[in-house]
């Protein structure tokens, strides 16, 4: 099949668009999105009950 000047131009444009879209997608994945405030999330550790006797004790930590 003969490659005409017009179809070669279309191919070139298509390839250019594909590269541009890929680069855009990559930028979106790699460029960080900035946040100041964080959302609530599930606590990943162990949960225990609030123990009134322990609360009444002065904290062993500094501060």
């Amino acid at each position: 099949m003969e490659l005409t000047r017009r179809s070669f131009g279309k191919l070139l444009l298509g390839a250019f668009c594909a590269v541009l879209a890929g680069a855009w997608g990559l930028t979106q994945r790699l460029a960080p999105v900035s946040f100041v405030k964080a959302l609530r999330a599930k606590f990943p550790g162990k949960l225990r009950r609030l123990d009134a006797a322990a609360v009444r004790q002065v904290g062993k930590w500094r501060g």
Binding site: V33, V36, K37, A38, A41, F43, K46, R56, G59, W61
Partner: protein, 323 residues
């Protein structure tokens, strides 16, 4: 998707599934999430003097909470077991912001402290807690290193009554090498807090050979006098070997006394020594007539003759929140 946390000056860039430097701000599905929100790992009733805060409701108890995590990594951290702990390995209780004031009242406390680790790391919980606590008619106290960007700090300060800010040293080198942080943002936060009407007290843990020179102490005192005002209370605290700094001895009593003398000579009105029982060094005197106003031993108030926040002898107004 990668996220960047703009809460503190570290500006952590966080890949999916990982946390920032504080361990508790996590990138979950491209969103920044606070995994300790509403889940403190330490809940206690402390004397307010333990924070240390000497010019805020003396002799009262304060409902004190902390989640795990911290945005500083001081090699001398005294609370490293909770501050440098991963939330996955921690145990916590469920205490949403709206319940903090209820619990504080239940235990007879007039104020709440966000303390032990650093409340700026669990910022959203601190902020929402402060809002709810103030709505309930109680007061809020931060115990913090104040390593935060200005915008979120300004928002938080609107709801804070008092803050005791721990300045680790008056040296960028110390902050870089010992704390993995920088000094200038902290100085900025101090000035901002004062300008917004927060009662600010400052503390400085003196570590032998690292931040206890006359130059370090004098520099800090001059900066306080020039930028915060001579009425700003300053607490020099005794260091004890902890965490990654077990090779240094506890601070000698003579060093703490020297620091106190430098601060007084610099013109600061209220200078205290903590973590060491020294007669008179925890008590408050009138800066005008020098009479004893509040006598403390350790964290206990033995005598308080203040009358409506004034010296009963010369009527000088004493900096603080007294009622």
């Amino acid at each position: 998707m990668i996220v960047q946390c703009e809460l503190c000056p570290k500006l952590c860039v966080i890949p999916p599934g990982q946390s920032g430097d504080c361990r508790i701000r996590v990138n979950l599905d491209g969103k920044l999430c606070a995994v300790t929100y509403g889940y403190p790992s330490a809940v206690h009733i402390d004397p307010v003097e333990k924070k240390p805060v000497n010019h805020f409701l003396p002799g009262t108890t304060i409902f004190s909470i902390a989640t795990v995590g911290c945005n500083l990594h001081c090699k001398n951290c005294q609370n490293w077991e909770i501050s440098q702990c991963n939330p996955e390995q921690a145990a916590a209780v469920s205490l949403p912001p709206e319940q903090i004031a209820l619990e504080a009242r239940k235990y007879g406390c007039r104020s709440v402290a966000y303390t032990y680790t650093d409340p700026v790391a669990y910022y959203e919980y601190t902020l929402d807690g402060c809002i709810r606590v103030r709505e309930a008619g109680l007061k809020n106290v931060l115990v913090t290193a104040a390593y935060l960007n200005e915008k979120p700090w300004r928002e938080l300060c609107r709801y804070v009554d008092a803050a005791t800010v721990d300045v680790k040293a008056f040296s960028e080198k110390f902050y870089r090498e010992i704390c993995n942080a920088t000094l200038q943002p902290i100085l900025n936060c101090l000035v901002v807090a004062k300008s917004l009407g927060v009662l600010v007290e400052m503390s400085n843990l003196l570590i032998p050979t690292l931040n206890d020179s006359d130059r370090d102490i004098g520099g800090l005192c001059r900066w306080i006098k020039e930028n915060m005002g001579r009425e700003t209370p300053l607490h020099f605290l005794r260091f004890f070997p902890h965490y990654q700094m077990r090779h240094l001895p506890p601070t000698p009593a003579a060093t703490l006394d020297r620091a106190r003398q430098i601060a007084i000579a610099s013109g600061l009105n209220y200078v205290y020594v903590g973590n060491l029982l020294v007669e008179d060094a925890q008590s408050t005197h009138c800066p005008s007539c020098k009479n004893l106003l509040i006598r403390r031993i350790g964290h206990s108030v033995i005598q308080n003759v203040l009358a409506s926040g004034r010296c009963p002898h010369c009527q000088t107004e004493i900096y603080g929140i007294w009622n």
